[in-house]
């Protein structure tokens, strides 16, 4: 983090960081009051110094620590069997018990297919990969797994984090997390495999894959063909054609799609689409490996690419919402998944902008200077509003669950 931003951190933690809400969130209205106290928070200080196993009794202590240590990054870990900071005080081992189910989608994993930028760069164009991925994951988590409390958070530069906070999700075992991740992973194969999605031709598609395809379908032409220009050159188009495993179809595709240099990308794609459809139809659908070739292309290019190790472990750290990204200075704000299409990572406020917004507001409306929350004077207001809504949602779940449990025990005593 540059020195300027580092200088601004004390003020940010003091007047902007929603520490009360943050602690309320991680307390989940659990009847066990030690729930938040047993949560590991980990700080990264300037100069890459890691402080693991921090834990706090309440938001006052948290803010105190934030102000004295000024972490450039805060990570959230698991809820343990005892307060992590007391680890050395007692003899019993520190065991992670619960944590949210988390997902990390990072542009890094799309480097081999995006054509607009490379490395840490992103643009509005390739951000769409992330949007599609988040939509597909969100739908699966809600419709298939029945989760309700999902918080999506911009990672500050070129990715997005998903926090699944339902009680049921927090209590998942490592095996269950692993199974969920496998269920949600379609892209496989490492450095030496160019065809990374293979769907069994002798079976119907799993309903969750069909749903993912429906989501991709809406964007594919506009996004992959027009914006990402994957069929614009013969060279890039031939990479796609080469994925075909049916030798006969591959030869015919080479002739039809690649041998005509003066074509637009869209024309090439349409031509490929038609040729494959015809081929499959002629062979009565099931009698060819190429049955799902078009779907395989779409999935390989647009299906979410997960960092699986993040989601599998119960003890993995993930950056907390409302951190300030050390390089971009942007705040890691929650994203409204219903309107994720409208979310623009380039308009996410930086710490610099936020502080000057406060000054500007105070200059304009001096009467509000001391009787309005600082965040309300800035672009952060909306994000914090979103976050508050989410926290309330989580708390409602806890209360509902408790009252239904109570009812059932009452009826038992009857």
């Amino acid at each position: 983090m540059g020195n300027d931003a580092l200088d601004m951190l004390p003020l940010y933690y003091k007047i902007l960081f929603p520490s009360k809400l943050f602690v309320r969130w991680l307390s989940y209205s659990e009847s066990d009051e030690t729930y938040f106290k047993r949560r590991e928070l980990s700080f990264t200080l300037a100069g890459d110094i890691y402080l693991r196993y921090q834990s706090f009794p309440d938001d006052t202590e948290l803010v105190k620590a934030l102000l004295s240590k000024l972490p450039v990054k805060i990570d959230i870990g698991a809820v343990f069997n005892k307060e992590p900071r007391d680890n050395r005080k007692t003899m019993d081992v520190l065991i992670p018990l619960e944590r949210e189910l988390i997902f990390d989608i990072d542009m890094d994993d799309y480097d081999d297919i995006r054509t607009c930028c490379k490395g840490p760069e992103i643009c509005k164009n390739c951000w769409r990969f992330i949007v599609i991925a988040a939509k597909i994951l969100n739908a699966a988590l809600i419709e298939d797994f029945g989760f309700k409390n999902i918080l999506w958070v911009y990672s500050g530069r070129r990715g997005i984090h998903g926090w699944i906070c339902d009680k049921r999700a927090r209590r998942l075992t490592t095996e269950a997390r692993s199974a969920i991740v496998d269920y949600l992973s379609l892209i496989e194969g490492g450095e030496f495999k160019s065809k990374r999605v293979t769907l069994p031709a002798n079976k119907n598609l799993h309903p969750s894959i069909t749903r993912a395809l429906d989501i991709i379908e809406k964007e594919f032409e506009d996004f992959m063909v027009k914006d990402q220009k994957i069929f614009d050159t013969v060279e890039s188009a031939s990479k796609i054609v080469d994925l075909c495993t049916d030798p006969e179809l591959k030869t015919s595709l080479r002739n039809k799609v690649l041998k005509t240099p003066h074509r637009t990308g869209l024309e090439r794609w349409k031509c490929l689409e038609k040729a494959v459809e015809l081929h499959v139809k002629e062979r009565n659908y099931t009698r060819t490996h190429a049955r799902y070739f078009l779907d395989e292309i779409k999935l390989q290019l647009c299906y979410p690419r997960l960092d699986v190790n993040v989601s599998r472990g119960i003890n993995h750290l993930l950056k907390a919402p409302f951190c300030v990204h050390p390089k971009t200075h942007r705040v890691c704000v929650p994203v409204d998944i219903a309107n994720i299409k409208k979310f623009d990572p380039f308009t996410v406020p930086t710490i610099d902008q936020l502080l000057s917004q406060i000054d500007a507001h105070d200059a304009l409306q001096p009467e509000e200077k001391d009787n309005k929350e600082s965040y309300a004077k800035t672009d952060l207001a909306q994000s914090i509003g979103l976050f508050r809504k989410f926290v309330v949602l989580c708390e409602k779940e806890a209360i509902m669950q408790r009252s239904s449990e109570q009812r059932s025990t009452e009826s038992l005593t009857w």
Binding site: D48, R168, L172, A176, G190, F192
Partner: protein, 563 residues
């Protein structure tokens, strides 16, 4: 002996084990309740022998590994044949008897087989509840056995029934669930639009669903159906998995595995009761049957008591590493980095061939710091290497991964690990094999094996190309460290190969270092250099003698090149 949970033991005259109460009504038991009663010690011996022979079959022929492939029926057939060959003092072994379709449920032969099945299972529990390694072996084999028996009752029967025109009978599974309180309730879908839609989605796995297909689905919390969730075998809705009767088999097996594990842990606390009586008997049989067979295998995967140092790895990689490890190695050398999975697979492999922890840290560090700051390596990667050697975290001395694990791994974007025969595209695999000197005919052979998903065999063929005169087992390669060990042995036994290379190398010696040249033994290299120098010196003296200036310049140039 008491099989039950009551701690008190009846007083016995020697030579008898108590088995009194018998309820052997089940062909397919879940072994929830141990039998009680008396049996002869000689019978104990025979029963243990019989069951161990049966379990041993599943050491080689694992069903869970072939997954959903079409060959399931064939695979079951192979197991069936193997099981039939097992001899038992009681005539046919109990599995064969229990699956004999011609015998009625109340047949005495069947009754006896059920009894043997139950008693032998509980006898072995006693022996296998400790230590962890034995426990794992037993639980895995028993689970496989149960899986086989359930499949045999459904898939196997369906196949024979299809021939005779009978209807498929999946009620075995339903009964099993009912009888053993497995708490899975089938749902019956009616004719409402919602139900029909649900049925259509839930039966996506089945290409041709007919409307009158009324076989039930089980509605199960997804947390209780992880196996089918993981494989995407069931339709999920709102947190529930809709599992077909057929897929319930894997769920039952998982449940069985869990219960057996807990039961064994509980039993372990009381096994001292039998320390001097039953355990020695079983131990003897076990050592004779299983351990000796396994020792042979272990020797083959050979812990060579050899020390490997970082400077040797390049040479070893090219000559002796299996393709999976060689490709990780090349990747590491090329990119100066490999991702987590690669570090895990490769790190453990290197440990297995004799690279010490210090050397492993040095080896990875030297490579990684070409691209990143040394402090970053120390902070982020050193831990993982020390973890492999059991010095961090769980502090377990991990063994190198076998082919099964490597084949079943799922390398993601940018990952270098995995089984080349499975995870490479054919073009990349071909490139690799051609570079290693695999000819066209063998390539075709390997390609068809890869298509059959017989990766171990494919790797075995590759091994034979590398070492034509060295015999390996028929199943092919099952562990990368076995590949390495065998490859080393092959070279020791058959050094001709080296001679060939040597001849070759001498001719090319002044050229740039070809990869093959690195296979030379270091000492030999030194000797060669020395000889070459002598030769050059000799030439140089001659040249000087002839006062042929032209030649003089040439040779000195040559010598520069060499040094």
């Amino acid at each position: 002996m008491e099989f039950g949970s009551t701690p008190k033991r009846s007083k016995l005259d020697s030579g008898h084990v108590n088995v009194a109460h018998e309820d052997f009504s089940d062909d397919l038991p879940f072994y929830s309740f141990p039998p009680t009663g008396k049996i002869d010690l000689i019978e104990v011996d025979d029963m243990v022998n019989e069951r161990l022979s049966i379990l041993e079959v599943f050491e080689e022929l694992k069903i869970s590994e072939i997954g959903q492939s079409k060959n399931l029926a064939d695979h079951l057939g192979t197991i069936r044949e193997r099981l039939k060959q097992i001899e038992s003092k009681f005539g046919d072994n109990f599995i064969t008897t229990l699956h004999a379709r011609t015998l009625g449920a109340h047949n005495t032969l069947k009754k006896d087989a059920r009894r043997r099945d139950q008693i032998s299972h509980f006898l072995l529990r006693l022996y296998f509840c400790h230590p962890q390694e034995k426990k794992t072996w037993f639980v895995n084999r028993e689970t496989e056995l149960l899986r086989y028996r359930l499949l045999e009752e459904t898939v196997g029967k369906a196949a024979t029934n299809a021939l005779s025109g009978q209807k498929n009978d999946s009620s075995v599974v339903a009964q099993m669930i009912l009888k053993n309180n497995l708490n899975y309730e089938p749902i019956h879908l009616g004719n409402s639009d919602y139900d029909r839609d649900l049925r259509r989605k839930a039966s996506f796995n089945n290409l041709f669903v007919t409307n009158d297909d009324k076989s039930p689905f089980y509605r199960i919390l997804f947390e209780d159906a992880l196996d089918v969730v993981r494989m995407r075998k069931a339709y999920l809705q709102d947190g529930y998995a809709y599992v077909s009767t057929h897929d319930m088999i894997s769920l039952i097996c998982t449940k069985f595995r869990q219960e057996l594990n807990t039961a064994l842990s509980r039993l372990n606390m009381r096994r001292s009761d039998e320390e001097h009586r039953l355990l020695p008997i079983i131990n003897n049989i076990y050592l004779k049957k299983i351990a000796s067979a396994r020792k042979l295998k272990a020797d083959a995967s050979g812990k060579l008591k050899e020390v490997v140092t970082p400077d040797m790895i390049d040479n070893l990689a090219l000559e002796h590493f299996p393709p999976c490890m060689e490709s990780i190695h090349l990747n590491l050398r090329k990119n100066h980095h490999i991702k987590y999975g690669g570090r895990l697979h490769y790190g453990l492999f290197l440990k297995g061939i004799g690279l010490s922890l210090e050397d492993a840290v040095k080896f990875f560090r030297d490579e990684f710091i070409q691209k990143l700051a040394p402090e970053k390596f120390d902070k982020e990667y050193r831990y993982g290497i020390r973890y492999n050697y059991g010095k961090e975290g769980k502090k377990v001395d991990f063994s190198p991964y076998g082919c099964e694990k490597i084949i079943n791994s799922t390398p993601g974007v940018g990952d270098a690990h995995g089984c080349p025969f499975k995870h490479f595209d054919w073009t990349n695999l071909k490139k690799f094999l051609v570079r290693k000197g695999v000819g066209d005919e063998v390539l075709q052979n390997i390609e068809s094996l890869v298509e059959e998903k017989n990766y171990s065999k494919a790797c075995g063929i590759y091994f034979t190309v590398r070492h034509p005169s060295h015999q390996i087992s028929d199943e092919g390669i099952t562990h990368p460290n076995t590949f390495y060990a065998e490859s080393r042995k092959a070279l020791q036994r058959n050094p001709k190969r080296e001679d060939l290379i040597l001849e070759d190398e001498i001719d090319h010696f002044t050229g740039s270092f070809l990869p093959e040249e690195e296979t030379l033994n270091q000492d030999l290299l030194k000797l060669l250099k020395f000889l070459k120098l002598l030769k050059l010196l000799n030439q140089w003296i001659q040249a000087k003698w002839n006062r042929n200036l032209h030649q003089l310049i040439q040779t000195s140039l040559q010598s520069k090149n060499l040094l």
